[in-house]
Symmetry: C2
Subunit: 102 residues, 2 copies
């Protein structure tokens, strides 16, 4: 529980990053299958997000990194791919912060 609300709100202050978080809620609805990976459990890779965002690989990678540093995403490297999925724990925590502090 080392959540940084300001960091989190900054991460959420961007349409592309909000989209990523939303897409990852139901990944199989928004991304094509990839390498037989179970998207729900493992996540989606940077390339999939890059394509969906229609932005450069550099930007996609940075956005994912910002969301991860804010605690909103978790990451796992498998082979040459890096998979990102939601960190539901932090998302719950910030929801609670919202109800209690704000």
């Amino acid at each position: 529980m080392c959540m940084e609300p300001i960091e989190i709100f900054k991460a959420l202050s961007n349409e592309s990053r909000l989209h990523i978080l939303h897409w990852l809620k139901e990944p199989e609805k928004h991304f094509a299958p990839h390498e037989g990976i179970d998207m729900r459990n493992i996540g989606v890779c940077v390339g999939q997000v890059t394509e969906k965002l229609k932005m450069t690989q550099s930007t996609a990678s940075q956005y994912l990194s910002i969301l991860q540093r804010a605690g909103l995403l978790k990451t796992e490297r498998i082979g040459k791919y890096t998979y990102y999925k939601r960190n539901e724990e932090t998302i719950r925590e910030i929801g609670a912060f919202f109800n209690n502090e704000i």
Copy 2:
């Protein structure tokens, strides 16, 4: 329901503005009485927030305005004072957005 999530998250991405919102949750706990005004119903004036923030009047006024434009505060002018209080409706809405979209 013309809530702008990005606008709202930007408004929340600042420690001073988070404080203001928090103080206004229980205003009588954080502000001295003022002109016999019922803080809970009417709000607190710019000068009270300025003093509490320990920042300039200009900055306080701008922060209150940012929160208000985001829909998080409501405002009422009484004589030469402008009072601000929380807009619980938008705050509820953004909480719901949080649960549904994010």
